[in-house]
């Protein structure tokens, strides 16, 4: 999991104009310009079932890159039962992530090992794969055309997984993204399952310009059109950079 969470929801408002580009280039550019070195935010995660019942999670997130390793710390603020539960993720360039969880009720830290990115993120419709930047080489890209989404002219780019392994790792067979031409901001992604049936639709909105010229999406929704469940992520506060030092991202600091 590379740079969990932030990378796919943050995009550079980097204007490319005029040049005819192929699909891979578009994806590559929209992916390359979203590297955040560090940030902190508080976000609410709403999980709805198909009957409209909801669960809410408040999470504080801090991310910072140290050398080749991007370290992310997440802490539950609510609900009360899980308040203080923390997750620490080390995202390496060349090997599988490390992940630790701290459970305050037991004052214990445990490592979690899981191989699949297609797994749910905190029990929501988002997957761990949605929270990280995908590896460009895992997909074959095709430009399907142009379409207007919410008044924005977008490229319609298809990313098809190259193998069955990738498919099961990411949890989808192909993804069709609508990338705004002028800003390279993804407006919407459609995820198709193994049988090539539409499974999930992710919508990104409320992009806000940050002090360094980057845009950040404050609102994401993932709807599972097959199970009719959906999850929403709303960013309550966002701050570029992080004051936390490397010690704060150490496993031992979790229990403090």
């Amino acid at each position: 999991m590379r740079t969990i969470l932030i990378t796919s929801i943050a995009f550079l408002a980097f204007a490319f104009h005029g040049v005819a580009q192929d699909a891979r280039e578009i994806s590559d550019k929209s992916s390359k310009v979203i590297e955040f070195e560090a940030m902190e935010m508080a976000t609410n995660l709403y999980i709805y079932d198909n009957k409209g019942n909801s669960r809410e999670r408040q999470v504080a997130v801090a991310t910072r890159k140290f050398g080749d390793v991007t370290k992310t710390l997440m802490r539950f603020l609510s609900p009360a039962d899980v308040q203080g539960t923390s997750i620490l993720i080390y995202d390496y360039e060349d090997k599988a992530d490390d992940m630790w969880v701290y459970l305050p009720s037991m004052r214990r830290t445990r490592r979690i090992v899981t191989t699949e990115k297609g797994k749910s993120f905190m029990g929501s419709e988002f997957t761990n794969a949605d929270m990280s930047r995908p590896n460009l080489d895992d997909f074959t890209y095709t430009l399907l055309g142009e379409e207007t989404i919410n008044g924005k002219i977008c490229w319609k780019v298809e990313a098809l997984t190259k193998s069955r392994e990738m498919e099961s790792e990411y949890g989808f067979k192909r993804r069709v993204s609508y990338i705004e031409k002028s800003t390279y901001l993804i407006q919407k992604s459609e995820l198709y399952d193994r049988t090539d049936k539409l499974n999930k639709v992710m919508t990104l909105g409320d992009y806000r310009k940050q002090s360094n010229g980057l845009y950040f999406s404050y609102q994401m929704e993932m709807k599972n059109v097959q199970s009719n469940r959906r999850s929403e992520m709303k960013v309550k506060s966002f701050q570029l950079g992080s004051k936390l030092n490397e010690n704060s991202f150490a496993v031992s600091s979790l229990e403090k």
Binding site: V82, T114, M122
Partner: protein, 761 residues
């Protein structure tokens, strides 16, 4: 206008109208809907069903289909490859809601300070070392061992649940195609209620479609051999066919679906409807032989004169016997009662109007040998013999019957209601084999679910579920108990070291439980708990899987569950398909008992009124009682269990049994009115009217005998029992009732009331 004039005047109409009615009934017949799911017909008040529906509302419909694979070693790469392919094809099908198998279940464990959550089989092993390692892992995995793989690693199963709205036919077509497209050496067996339903519908309807016509043909041949006249065959047979068409056509008209029970309707009509016609034919032959100078009109008129009343009465009593079903608790039994009583009425009318209308214009047939020459058929010889026995040794006859009845009645105490629906299938059927495997290797095929309500994450509730698990796992027959508490324990084992105070325990605080669950959700699927707990953690289900080969085992396990439920405030509801089945079986049997009591009393009263003597009601009820007691007693002795089909059979038996008695009484009365002695009357009655009774009974018996060729156990036992019942009714009519008559010389047979006046002229 007398009968003769009426028939002569309206002859054409009496032929045309029934034919048109029959043809018209063919139209609605094609629009009939088949609904093999007996659960749909349960009355509203059945508690287990209400509970099941409540549970389905919360956790979705869950009707698991099991695919069991058998191989020398399930972990061989060949076998696992095949199962993996099949697993994936099922999983990604639009017809399937979810799939559970070794490739889907999780392996959660703690390892070197880390919790690992993986599929139980991550990679298909290729070397023996890898295989041994996987074997050990599976043994250590409580989510797989003895649930999805047997302890000897010879069996594994894929469990799937079809999407709502997918028909049994669609899903099983798909499963069988998938299995065919992925061939292998492993034997594959299917199990689950949907499979049973599918097989019953497919096999039962196919068997009935093939065997019923065959049975009818055999019946035709027998009728021909008995009457030696084409009309003797075709006319009663036409009545049977026409009344079957009417009965079945009425179903869609009245808005009834064809249920599994509806297949009994044609069977019942065959047994009952040919009765009336056969008696008319037998009487025509008798009169034809004895009065060579009579014209056809004279013969028909005289036959009708002698028979219209007893036939009308037998019809009426049969209708009343069958109407007993209308008070039955099960809707299909009620429906069967309604349409078959109408159809019997139709058959009655056809026999008294349609048959004579055709016969009066026919040429006279050759007089039959029985009455002209001394040559006797086997039936005639048997009738002579029975008359001799009844007249000469009536006491012995009664002793034999009584002792037989006593022996049989002891069997009633051994009679059990069937709780294992798969027993309907033949021994070697996939469903029987897979049930045996599931019972021996996977903890059983029965499932009882307990609903817990409240704050599920509260330790009190979670510990209650855990207590259920530990206590029930000690109950004999219980294979597995699963709930959210199982998973919490697994998490606690993987999260804590064995020497920790938290290891293998339900935590004492709500926060810790919540955090365990949150912790799990970081590596599992959100759907992992979907079948165990609802979205907001206020309702959870605990599922008990067990083996019960008979009702006693079942009741023992059920009551240990209910005892725990009574002691646990958060356990609010007990549900399960097997409880519905049990309650349904009980309802059917209870319903049948009510129907039988109603029919017995009604028929006794009717006989009392007809013959104006209480003793007639009493005497007439004897064959019915004998048949019922012996029927149920024999079932007990042979280990046949009462099921949906055979419990309704007693209504048919009553309907038929009473007919024989009425015909017998009527003829006896007639013979006695001619001034004969009881002994003479009995002898004449048995060789004349007795012949009609015997031909009727035997033709139906051999017709039913073809059901022995059916693959379905339910049809075989049904055939066995109905044949046995008919045989008993026949023996009662031909031996027991004559013997009692000889001994008691009942007065009502001597009375010259109005009812027999016509015979004198």
């Amino acid at each position: 206008m007398n009968t003769n004039e009426f028939i002569t005047r309206y002859r054409r109409w009496l032929i045309i109208v029934p034919v048109i009615v029959t043809l018209l009934m063919l139209f609605p017949l094609s629009k009939g809907k088949i609904n093999p799911d007996l659960m749909d017909y349960l009355p509203d008040g059945i508690e287990a069903n209400i509970n099941n529906e409540k549970l389905e509302e919360i956790f979705g419909k869950y009707e698991p289909i099991l695919i069991i694979f058998k191989s020398d070693d399930i972990l061989s790469s060949e076998t696992l490859d095949r199962i993996y392919q099949i697993n994936n094809e099922l999983k990604y099908s639009e017809l399937v809601d979810d799939v559970m198998s070794l490739f889907e279940t999780k392996y959660i464990r703690g390892d070197d300070g880390a919790m690992l959550v993986d599929p139980a089989i991550r990679l298909i092993p290729e070397t023996n070392d890898e295989r041994d390692q996987l074997r050990q892992e599976l043994r250590d995995n409580p989510l797989a061992y003895k649930l999805l793989v047997s302890d000897d690693f010879k069996y594994t199963s894929i469990i799937l649940n079809a999407n709502e709205g997918v028909s049994d036919e669609e899903i099983f077509d798909f499963i069988s195609t998938t299995l065919k497209e992925n061939p292998g050496n492993e034997a594959v067996y299917l199990n689950g209620l949907p499979y049973l339903r599918y097989e019953v519908q497919a096999k039962a309807t196919r068997d009935i479609a093939i065997l019923m016509p065959l049975g009818l043909i055999i019946m035709l041949i027998f009728l021909y051999l008995s009457f030696r006249e084409r009309r003797g065959v075709l006319l009663p047979f036409a009545v049977v066919i026409m009344s079957i068409v009417l009965a079945m056509g009425l179903m869609p008209i009245l808005g009834f679906d064809f249920s599994l029970i509806a297949v009994l309707i044609p069977i019942m009509m065959i047994a009952i409807a040919n009765n009336y016609g056969v008696h008319i034919m037998a009487r025509y032959q008798e009169l034809n032989a004895k009065n060579p100078d009579w014209t056809m009109v004279q013969i028909v008129t005289e036959s009708l004169k002698q028979l219209s009343k007893p036939i009308l009465l037998t019809g009426l009593t049969t209708i009343i016997g069958v109407m007993g079903l209308i008070v039955h608790i099960m809707l299909p039994a009620k429906q069967m009662g309604i349409v078959s009583s109408v159809a019997i009425g139709f058959a009655l009318a056809l026999s008294l109007l349609f048959i004579p209308a055709i016969m009066i214009k026919m040429k006279k047939g050759k007089p039959i040998k029985v009455y002209t020459t001394g040559k006797k058929s086997i039936i005639d010889k048997l009738l002579k013999w029975s008359a001799r026995v009844a007249v000469n040794t009536p006491r012995r006859v009664i002793y034999i019957f009584v002792s037989f009845m006593i022996i049989a009645s002891v069997g009633i105490s051994r009679l059990q209601v069937s709780i294992n629906l798969e027993k309907m299938m033949p021994q070697k059927h996939s469903l029987r084999i897979s049930t045996d495997i599931a019972n021996a290797k996977f903890g059983g095929t029965k499932n009882i679910n307990v609903l817990f309500e409240g704050e599920i994450m509260e330790p009190e509730v979670m510990k209650a579920m855990d207590r259920f698990e530990t206590q029930l796992e000690g109950v004999k027959g219980v294979g597995s108990v699963t709930s959210l508490a199982t998973v919490i324990r697994i998490i606690s084992r993987s999260l804590n070291d064995p020497d920790s105070e938290f290891y293998d325990k339900i935590p004492d605080s709500r926060q810790a439980i919540a955090q365990y669950i949150e912790f799990y959700s970081m590596s599992g699927d959100p759907e992992d708990f979907e079948k165990l707990v609802d979205f907001d953690y206020t309702k959870a289900v605990l599922s008990v899987q067990f083996v019960a080969s008979n009702i006693d085992d079942f009741n023992r396990i059920e009551s240990s569950i209910r005892e725990l439920v009574d002691k646990t405030p958060s356990a609010t509801l007990v549900a399960g398909q097997c409880l519905v089945e049990k309650e349904m079986a009980n309802a059917i049997v209870k319903g049948q008992i009510y129907s039988l009591i109603f029919a017995l009393v009604a028929i006794a009263i009717l006989l009392w009124i007809i013959f104006r003597a209480f003793s007639a009601g009493l005497l007439g009820s004897i064959p019915l009682l004998v048949t019922l007691i012996c029927n149920f007693g024999l079932m007990g002795w042979f280990g046949f269990q009462l099921d949906i089909g055979n419990s309704l059979l007693s209504s048919i038996a009553i309907g038929i049994g009473v007919d024989y008695t009425i015909h017998l009484f009527w003829r006896l009365k007639y013979e006695l009115s001619l001034g004969r002695s009881y002994a003479e009357a009995v002898q004449t009655t048995l060789v004349t009217t007795g012949r009609g009774i015997a031909i009727n009974a035997i033709s139906v018996i051999i017709g039913f005998a073809v059901l022995f060729f059916s693959g379905m156990m339910i049809l075989k036992t049904f055939a066995f029992l109905i044949i046995f019942s008919l045989l008993l009714c026949l023996l009662c009519a031909l031996i027991l009732i004559p013997a009692i008559t000889i001994l008691t010389e009942p007065k009502f047979l001597l009375k010259n009331g109005k009812s027999v006046n016509f015979i004198k002229d």
